[in-house]
């Protein structure tokens, strides 16, 4: 009986320590980040606010809420902060089509105790469990373009985004007002 109890207690340990290695079979591409580790695993896509507080709208909030990955192997809630585009873009819109689905993901886990980063994830590709084909997690900018036809033009999305432009036009790049901005820019770019 003692042995049985010990076994149960040992089963609990990986959940607390998050020590399992999920890098096996990962094909994630490096971003050369200090604390990155390749990580491929199966999980359920969940609305994080719903998961934590019980505040649960239909369809995980239809893309306006942050979504998490409830890892199948150990029940850990992984937080995808980033999609695979180097363009200041998050992961929620990549995960939204998979609300409540069981998926497999591949990407980079960020674990940096000095900064408090634990179970923070950059998702590079996703597929429903059992599917053969991966879907790249790089659709944010296309979805943004479809939602903002009025902002069509040259340059990256973040230079054309109406809300961002309005903020900068009102408060400057530093957010401290246009006078402060003007003085700083004149000094910063002076030869």
């Amino acid at each position: 009986m003692k042995k049985f109890i010990l076994s149960l207690a040992c089963m609990a340990l990986p959940m607390a320590a998050s020590a399992e290695d999920f890098s096996a079979n990962s094909e994630a591409k490096t971003w050369n980040l200090f604390a990155e580790q390749p990580a491929r695993f199966e999980a359920k896509v969940v609305d994080i606010l719903c998961e934590l507080s019980g505040d649960c709208p239909d369809n995980c909030g239809d893309g306006k809420r942050q979504l998490g990955l409830l890892r199948a192997a150990d029940g850990v809630l992984v937080y995808p902060n980033k999609n695979s585009q180097p363009a200041f873009t998050g992961a929620a819109l990549e995960l939204a089509p998979y609300c409540q689905a069981d998926v497999e993901v591949d990407g980079l886990m960020i674990e940096d105790p000095d900064l408090g980063a634990q179970n923070v994830y950059l998702i590079q590709k996703i597929r429903n469990v059992g599917d053969a084909e991966w879907v790249k997690a790089n659709t944010w900018t296309k979805k943004w373009a479809a939602a903002h036809p009025e902002a069509k033009g040259k340059g990256p999305w973040f230079r054309r985004d109406p809300r961002v432009k309005a903020k900068i036009e009102k408060n400057g790049y530093l957010g401290l007002g246009l006078e402060t901005d003007e003085a700083f820019i004149a000094d910063w770019f002076s030869e």
Partner: protein, 149 residues
């Protein structure tokens, strides 16, 4: 012995995904973009906050990267809702508060090493108070376009 077995079994239960018990807290700190902070992709933690990083904070918030509240205690609180606005991916309220120092009253949830915060009230919005642009310049460097001559 049965009781001991039950206790050991219950110890496994919290991973099952049930709504957790929240704790009311008051947190004062800066609304930051979490990816730049956690990943170090643009430099150390002192450089990816404040006025130096304000434009990037706008980009990341609008781009759906989670925002966090960097508390005076050094902890990051991942913000899930602000005063009824649950747009935690690219929402208007969090965009309005990018780089601002705020005093928040809300409910804290802790899960798997991260702090999650539902802000019920922004008690005070102090604006941008970390004026670190003189130390670091714009972060990233291209955040402010070079003026055309």
């Amino acid at each position: 012995m049965k009781r001991l077995l039950l206790s050991a079994t219950l110890a496994l239960a919290p991973v099952a995904g049930h709504a957790a018990e929240g704790e009311r807290v008051q947190v004062k700190g800066e609304i930051i973009d979490t990816w730049c902070y956690y990943s170090g992709v643009m430099g150390g933690p002192e450089a990816v906050v404040g006025s130096a990083h304000h434009t990037c904070a706008l980009w990341c918030s609008a781009g759906g990267i989670p925002v966090g509240l960097l508390g005076e205690d050094g902890e990051i609180y991942m913000v899930l809702k602000i005063e009824g606005d649950d747009g935690s991916a690219s929402g208007d309220t969090q965009l309005k508060l990018a780089s601002h120092e705020i005093e928040a009253d809300g409910i804290l949830y802790k899960r798997d090493g991260l702090n999650y915060l539902v802000v019920e009230e922004v008690v005070a919005d102090l604006g941008i108070t970390n004026l670190n642009h003189e130390d670091f310049g714009p972060v990233p460097g291209f955040a402010i376009p070079k003026p055309k001559k």
